[in-house]
Symmetry: none
Subunit: 216 residues, 4 copies
C-alpha cells in the first residue's frame, strides 16, 4: 500500500460538516444508527458531480436511499445476467427497506448520454475504454422513445435524456416484484430531470408522458 | 403509465434548495453546465441514506463524482464479465473526467455487510431476492482481510466493513489503467469510513493499514 | 381434543369475503404475501366488537398493522417487567416494519374503562377475574389527566377514555426508540376516539390536547 | 405534545366508511351502543396487516370480539405472572361478554413465527429489541407439536404456524374457567389458519388434529 495523503479538500469539508451541519443532525444520525435507516424514497441518479440528489432535494440524513451510476440507468430485470449492482440496490430498497417511491432523476448535459450519441456518429464512447461503452449501450432502447417527444426533438441530447428516464421506469416495471407492488399502489415510480444550468427541476407527468418544470 | 403524484417531500425540499442553496451556487451551476464538470475527487460510496458523501464532505456542485451501490463495493477488473455499472463509472471518472483521487467510503451498520454476515449463519440475505445475494458475494475476498485487523476484531461487522474498503482499493488497482496512473502519482486511492452514529470520519492510513479517526 | 363444529357464521362470512371482497383484493393478497407486508400505519385499538379499525378506516389488506387489547392500553416501557404482548407488537411495528404512524384509537362506552370506574365505586371489575383487574389498573395514571378536560368533565367515562389515549401516547414516548424516532420526525404519534353510537371519529389535536370531531 | 397531522389516508378511509358503510350499519351501531356489545365469537388473531378477521369473515359491527397480538399467541394460564394483556382480553370475552366461541386464527408467512425460526439459527429475532424475543419465546412449546404434522412437515414455517394454533387451544384450556365451560359445552374452542397468498381459510379438525381447506 502507498501513503497517499487523504485529500485536504475532504478534510476541510468534513470540518465544515462537523461545525455547521452535524450539530443540527446529531440526533438524526444517532437515532437512525440505533434504529436503522427508514427512508421512504429511493433515488436512481447519475454520478455527475453537478446533480447530487441530497443537494437538490435538501435531504436530511436518512431520508433518501440513493443509487448512482453513469447516466442514471436501470437495466431490465435479468436475474441470470449482468449489471447487477443497480438491480441489487433497487431490490434492497424495495424489499428490505420497503421504500414507497422510486424516483429516476436524470439531468442535462449528461456525459453518459452524450457519449452514447457520439457512438452514433461513429466515435468511440471513450477511447480505450473497457466498460463504459457496454454500460451506455443500455440507452439503446430509449432511442425509439426519444423520437416521440415533440417538445424536445430539437434538442437531441435532451430528448434522449428524457427518453432514458421513461425507459428506466419501464425497466423498473420489468422487475416482477416492483410491477406487482406498483399495481397495488404500494410502490410509486417517478421521473425527474434536473437542469444543471438553470437549477430547474422538471417532473415527468406520467399521464401525458411529458416533462414539466416544477414551480420553484 | 400511471399518474403517480410526485412526492411532496421532494417538491418541498426542492423549494428549500431554490430558496437557500441555489442563490449561493447559481454561478457554479451555470459555469459548470457550460464548461462541463471537472471534479478532482471521485467517491465510491454506499446507497445508505445516512451516508451521503456530499453532506459529510460539505461538497459544492461540481466537486465530487459519486458512484453509489450497496456496500460501496468495487468489483475486480473483469472487462468480459459482469458487474459493469460500477466499473463503468470508475472508468468514466478516471479516463473521461481525469479525477485525481478515488475515495472508497464505507460506513458503520451497513445493511449490505450485515446481510453478508447473516448468510454466513445460513440465512438468505434477502428472502426471495434475485440480486442482492450475488452482489454482496463480492464481499467474500474481504473476509480474510477482516481477521487481520486487531483493533476491530472484537466487532465482526466493523472489521468486515474496514476490510471491504481495503479490498475495494486492491480491486481498483486490478484495473490496469488505474494501477499505471497510481504508480506515476497521477491517481491516488483512499479509504474512509463514516461512523453514522457519532458522525466521525475514519481515514485509512495506508502505511499501517489502520483506520484512524480524523480530527474534527 | 373435541369435535367442536367451526361456527357457521364464520363460514358464511368467509364465503361472502370470497365472493365479494377477495376478487377485488386478490392481487394485494398475492403480492403482499410474496413481498411481505409494508404497512405505514400501526393502530393500537380495543378488542371491542363495535370498534374494528379496518371497518372504520375502510382499510385494504396490508394497510394497517393492528394490535388490540382491552381498552387500547399501552403499558409504559418496562423491558424487565410484565405486559409484554402489546409492547412486543409496538416494537415489531416500529422496528421491523418501520411504520411511520402509530394511532391509539379509543371508543365510547368502553367496557374496560367502565370496569375501571366501577372499581372506584368499590366494585370488583369482574367478579372472580384473575387478569382483567390488573390489566385495567394501567388506566390509573390517566385518571389525573381526565380531570383536566373541561369539555368532557361532565361525562366521567368519556373523560377517562380521552385521558387514557393521551396517557397511551405518553407511554409510547417512554419507549426510548419511539421517543427518539418521534423527535427526529420519523415516527408520528396520534390519538383518535370513535363514537360507536353516532359513528363519528374524533381526532386528538395535540397542540391543544383536545379531541375534535373529524369532518365526515 | 407535538402537532403531528392525523394521517390523511385514515381521514380518507373514514370518509369512505361514512359514505358507504355507516348508512348500512347505523342501526347496529346505535342499538349496540345503547344495549352494549353481545358478540358470540371471540377471535385471537395476529397484528399482521394482511390478516384482519373482520375482513376475512365479513363481520358486521358487534359480531366479533378481537384480541390481536404478534403471532396470535395465547399464554398459558398464569394469574401471578406476566403476559396479562391477552389473558385479560380472553377473560373479559369469556366472563363479561359470555362469548360462545373462541377462535385462534393464524396465517401464513407470519413474521413472528419466522422471527422465532431465525432465533433457532442463532440470530437475534430483532436486533436491539427489548420485547419481541421474549414474546415469541411463547412459541417454544409448539415446536414439539410441529414435528407431529405429517402434512406440513415439508414446510417448517407452516408446521410451526399450525402447531402454534394447537398449542394456543391447549393453553386456553389451562384457564380453569374456560376448561370448565368447554366441558359442559358452553364454550367452544376452534383453530383456523388464513393463507394470505391465496385467500384460503383452513380450519382445524380437532378430531384428527389436521387443518383442512374450507370450501369457499
Amino acid at each position: 500500500m502507498n501513503s497517499a495523503v487523504f485529500p485536504s479538500r475532504l478534510i476541510q469539508g468534513y470540518r465544515a460538516f462537523r461545525k455547521d451541519r452535524l450539530p443540527l443532525e446529531e440526533r438524526r444520525y444517532r437515532v437512525l444508527a440505533e434504529a436503522g435507516q427508514r427512508p421512504q424514497i429511493m433515488l436512481v441518479a447519475c454520478c455527475d458531480s453537478r446533480a447530487a440528489p441530497e443537494t437538490i432535494f435538501d435531504a436530511a440524513p436518512g431520508e433518501m436511499f440513493v443509487v448512482r451510476n453513469v447516466a442514471n440507468l436501470v437495466p431490465p430485470h435479468d436475474p441470470d445476467g449482468e449489471f447487477h449492482g443497480t438491480s441489487a440496490a433497487i431490490e434492497y430498497g424495495v424489499m428490505a427497506l420497503r421504500v414507497r417511491h422510486i424516483v429516476v432523476m436524470g439531468h442535462g448535459r449528461c456525459g453518459g448520454v452524450s457519449a452514447y450519441l457520439s457512438t452514433k456518429a461513429g466515435q468511440a464512447p471513450l477511447p480505450g475504454g473497457d466498460y463504459i461503452g457496454r454500460w451506455i449501450s443500455l440507452l439503446k432502447p430509449a432511442e425509439a422513445l426519444a423520437c416521440d417527444d415533440p417538445a424536445a426533438e430539437a434538442d437531441r441530447q435532451r430528448a434522449l435524456e428524457f427518453a432514458s428516464i421513461r425507459q428506466a421506469i419501464t425497466n423498473l416495471k420489468s422487475f416482477p416484484k416492483i410491477a406487482a407492488l406498483e399495481e397495488i399502489g404500494e410502490v410509486e415510480l417517478h421521473g425527474a430531470w434536473f437542469d444543471i444550468s438553470a437549477g430547474d427541476l422538471w417532473v415527468l407527468d406520467q399521464a401525458t408522458g411529458r416533462f414539466e418544470v416544477a414551480a420553484p
